[in-house]
Symmetry: C2
Subunit: 189 residues, 2 copies
Amino acid sequence: MKKVPVGVSARHIHLSVDHIAALFGAGYELKVLKDLSQPGQFAAEETVAVIGPKGKFDKVRILGPARGKTQLEVSRTDAFSLGVNPPVRESGNIAGTPGIKLVGPAGEVEIEEGVIVAARHIHFHTEDAARWGIQDKQKLTVRVGGERAVIFEEVVARVSDQYALDMHIDTDEANAAGVKNGDEAEILS
Amino acid sequence: MKKVPVGVSARHIHLSVDHIAALFGAGYELKVLKDLSQPGQFAAEETVAVIGPKGKFDKVRILGPARGKTQLEVSRTDAFSLGVNPPVRESGNIAGTPGIKLVGPAGEVEIEEGVIVAARHIHFHTEDAARWGIQDKQKLTVRVGGERAVIFEEVVARVSDQYALDMHIDTDEANAAGVKNGDEAEILS
């Protein structure tokens, strides 16, 4: 049985160094609130406001460290609230996605692209993937049990020796399947 | 292939005659905005405000006609916003579920129970069910395709000669599976 812990991703944002400076001030460094399951990744103490054409979220958690490009990850439900129509994309693949307005304590930024609904995925350490015969980018079928049991198809495998085993789904997916952080999923194929 | 059209249920409320009177005035009759897929059921022109411990929705659509008991159906995402923790239940089975405050133009009501997350289900006309060998209350496994393809287990069959063939899922489920009103699902077993 290929068992994987589930991590539920609430809406969050990754910021570029330039956007951290624009929103929080030149040279500002994010403070670590909590380490995440992936080594080196953390939830920052800081949040930003995200303003869409139809709605806004006052406090969207920043995940650090800084990235090359700013990327806002929302659920489809969040997207309807904001009034944007982002595609389902893998992290980092933001070409042609909608932009949005971000507001921080030191300024605001209108990003031209970067809003996505994250494609569900599983992070595998290279050794986990090798043991189970799973390749990077492979599409997997994964079941979560319970009173709202669901089998997710189109789950992207992401393999790296920088990763720890964890399945990432968004709040719509978690709520539809009745799962919460730390529950277990099973890779069927 | 057992193909079924999908209907996505946004948050909505069914009201008892007494609660219609309390919220809209004695003898008030709901006005039909739009007929629904199930014969005799309709979306009303009227909405109510729903006030939870943590949040509120100003305009929750009333579905008519009046029912024996008032029942508010929300997604798990909605429930978090309101600050209530309703169970997943079949429609009508509201014993022991949370209550909530409702506000209408003529008054307000604090219901003691009636908030549920609706169990996903398929309405079958008796003839559809007989043709496919499906029994009332049977739990089905149903697939929806696409870039967020999902197989839903625990889908409740509801069979009546008053029903029209339609699969009802909530907005979390629809968003997790990337489906919209009128898309097709396939009953696998």
